[in-house]
Amino acid sequence: MFLTRKAEFSASHVCANPAWSAEQNQAVYGNNANPNGHGHNYVLEVTLAGDPDPVTGMVFDLRELKEILNREVVDPMDHRFLNKEIPPFDKVIPTTENIALEIWKRIEPVIARKGVALHNVRLYETPDLYVDYGGPQ
């Protein structure tokens, strides 16, 4: 069975490679490269796969899942400028793809346990653009 929990955080970022000219960055990242950054209301949907526990009837304790998402993602990233405040985005360009990879890296080790796996991380940058990451192939 799949279980999905949603969380939101609002943050600013800029997508630009410091080794490139403004024109090169504009060509690759469009207005996401505007130098002073801009913000999004990110929406995160985390999907776990597992069978309901025969005693509790739950795949995963939702309260614990909420605490994990708050501790690993929302508390550190909400109302922050990712590039300036949240490593590794001082070095890694915070595209939606790279933020999803970082979220996977942070939550997978604390979610995975006997009978439960992290199945998918979906991250909406806007309501019209999102990425899905199902872990290393």
Partner: protein, 136 residues
């Protein structure tokens, strides 16, 4: 990793097939068979998949938007699907057939390094049609 981008277009259509009698068409398609057609604000979702490149992206957003805009939205937005698209001269303009046309059109003109993975069209908030693109 899969990236999905959502686009919008508004178009009219009428569901009617010459293979059936007028009465049969009315019964089968109901209001969708009304003689002068009707419109929808369609929502198109295009998914691409591939590795995250050195720029931290599955696909260049602008390249993807331009391709979808030029090849799909320009042909469909504010059009009458039955009257303006030769593809629907002999084929019923259902959203199933529209999704098939969009997938075929994108596949024919695909120039992006990421793989076209899925086409999904919502005709209204209450119905949508999804086509996977098989790998390889």
């Amino acid at each position: 990793m899969t990236l999905t981008s959502r686009y919008r277009f508004s178009a009219s259509h009428r569901l009617d097939t010459p293979a059936l009698t007028p009465e049969e068409n009315r019964r089968l398609y109901g209001k969708c068979n009304n003689p002068h057609g009707h419109g929808h604000d369609y929502v198109l979702e295009i998914s691409v998949d591939g590795p995250v490149d050195r720029d931290g992206q599955v696909v260049n957003r602008e390249a993807m938007d331009t391709l979808v805009r030029q090849r799909v939205l320009a042909r469909l937005d504010h059009k009458n699907l039955n009257a303006d698209l030769t593809e629907f001269a002999a084929t019923v303009a259902t959203t199933e057939n529209l999704a098939t046309l969009v997938r075929r059109t994108l596949a024919e003109h695909w120039t992006l390094p990421a793989r076209l993975a899925r086409v999904r069209i919502s005709e209204t908030d209450r119905n949508s049609f999804e086509l996977e693109v098989s790998k390889g």
